[in-house]
């Protein structure tokens, strides 16, 4: 995790402040990588992703009318699967083509002792939502998550 204000590099994620909730932001050389990093930022709001064993996979196929809505759908799909399967995730693979996302999340059943999750994420919001190419080869995917 990078702290807000660190020098921007691709393949990084960070949190940005929000009064009540948490902003999650992923950077990547491609939209795919930025989306993966945004998911990692969300997981890092809950626990230390490095503590998650990559034992199970969950696959996703999503479609949205725009790239930024696809980001919110992706994060909300992860939130749903975490809640329904009682899982936490530690790694992600994303492929986006024409506002369609195919994703895979890797993780394991949540352990209250080993993961000590800090918060439960209720939903990804449209607040501070952006999924843009800041400069050639640097994509930024971000929004506020409600915790």
């Amino acid at each position: 995790m990078a702290a807000a204000g660190d020098q921007v590099a691709t393949g990084r994620c960070e949190h940005f402040p929000h009064d009540a909730d948490i902003g999650v932001r992923g950077y990547g050389a491609t939209p795919d990588e930025a989306c993966e990093q945004a998911a990692l930022a969300m997981m890092a709001a809950i626990l230390d992703p490095a503590t998650v064993r990559l034992e199970q996979t969950v696959d996703f196929a999503l479609e949205a009318p725009s790239l930024d809505l696809l980001l919110v759908d992706w994060l909300n799909a992860l939130i749903y699967e975490m809640a329904e399967r009682r899982m936490v995730f530690g790694a992600f693979h994303v492929k986006i083509e024409n506002d369609r996302l195919k994703g895979r999340a890797l993780g394991e059943a949540v352990s209250r002792t080993r993961h000590a999750p800090a918060v439960e994420v209720k939903g990804a919001t449209y607040t501070e939502l952006a999924f843009v190419e800041d400069r050639p080869g640097l994509w930024r995917a971000q929004c506020v998550i409600d915790v």
Partner: protein, 476 residues
Amino acid sequence: MDVSRFEKLSETAWRIAPFGDMRVPAIVYATEDLITEMDDKVFDQVTNVAKLPGIVRASYAMPDAHWGYGFPIGGVAAFDADEGGVVSAGGVGFDVSCGVRTHLTHLTREQVVSVQQELADALFEHVPAGVGSQGEIALDEQGMNAMLLGGAQWAIERGFGRPEDLDRIEERGCASGADPAAVSEHARKRQRREMGTLGSGNHYLEVQEVAEIFDDKIAAAYGLVKGACVVTIHCGSRGLGHQIGTEYLREMLLSAPNYGIELPDRELACAPIKSEVGQKYLCAMRAAINCALANREIIGHLARQVFARFFAQEDLPLMFDVSHNTCKVERHAVDGETRQLFVHRKGATRAFGPGHESLPEALRPYGQPVLIGGSMGAGSYVLAGVKTSEPQAFSSACHGAGRRMSRHAATRTWGGRQVVDELRAQGIIVKSPSLRGVAEEAPGAYKDVRAVVDSAEAAGLARKVAFLKPLICVKG
């Protein structure tokens, strides 16, 4: 926020005249100090709400207002269906019907302190809290539908609570107009194992001492006695409400252009009340309200079970249960005419004054209890609704202290162990599965709750009745 952007109406009321696409003014109830402390985003959000179709009178922000999503947290707005008014999933939020309830005890502080650690351990063990916790109640399809229709009444029929509790819950524990068919399969699945769970974040179960009484008459009517202890529970509609919020926000966002609605902020996603999407959302949201009411009733029952182990004579009568993330149909006087309005309260508490027909007979002369959750260290307040709140803000008041620091900043400022130890030195036992979660909820991350409730009282939104100091705090 810069107070120079406001017209000062009084020491605790500040007006923003309509500009741009605003249909009505915005009014913030707070002292100059509290307004100065608020993020500029509160200004943007309270004025954006004023742009929504069919909004009546004004867009309001309570003294605990802070940057939310769409609406500010602490936002209140009413809409008239006959004037193209909207219902907004963003105006209710993800945690539909999140709220607070307080149970009374006859226990003194000394009695609780004599078993404080054991009681804290037992509550933490018996009330599922935190990520990954599960309730004992598994709901099948039929049970889920019955719960979504029945709310706290369903819980009581199942043995989780007592019939007399219903007098002390808004709408007698059951929101009418719920339709389980409007609740998706995903929302149902997310809730199957979450009945009777506290959740995480700022949700809690606290044992508190009534440390100060401000209004003897109303406190007596509420059953509050100085030096006695109470049990307060703060939580909402759990995964079901979160999923309903997620799904309908998206649906309203995508359908808004079809209704000719230009959203000033995508998080203000809304639909006309008189539309298929709007009606479907109202049916789902009311089902989520029932889920929250059932959830709090079950947790109250779990708390009663724990207390019975320590104090056999204690039956923890319910003082009141009130929600602070809702849209409710209410009748209000507007320019001398009584109108039916859809009142959104996002992080704001309904605060009906004395004489209101919806209040139980025993409370009616005194006004509705308004339960204000503070931080783990600073304590909480019980207020009473007052008649002046009707014209001020459609009978609404604040709901908590309001954050002054982000979670990120809080964890950089305090360690979880440090917070636990400091509170223990003050006589407060904190139980939580996550020390980081405790750090995020550190008392210093919140505004001064006294300043917030003093503002609410000065603004004529509610009257101070009692101050509650925590002794045990179970956090998710």
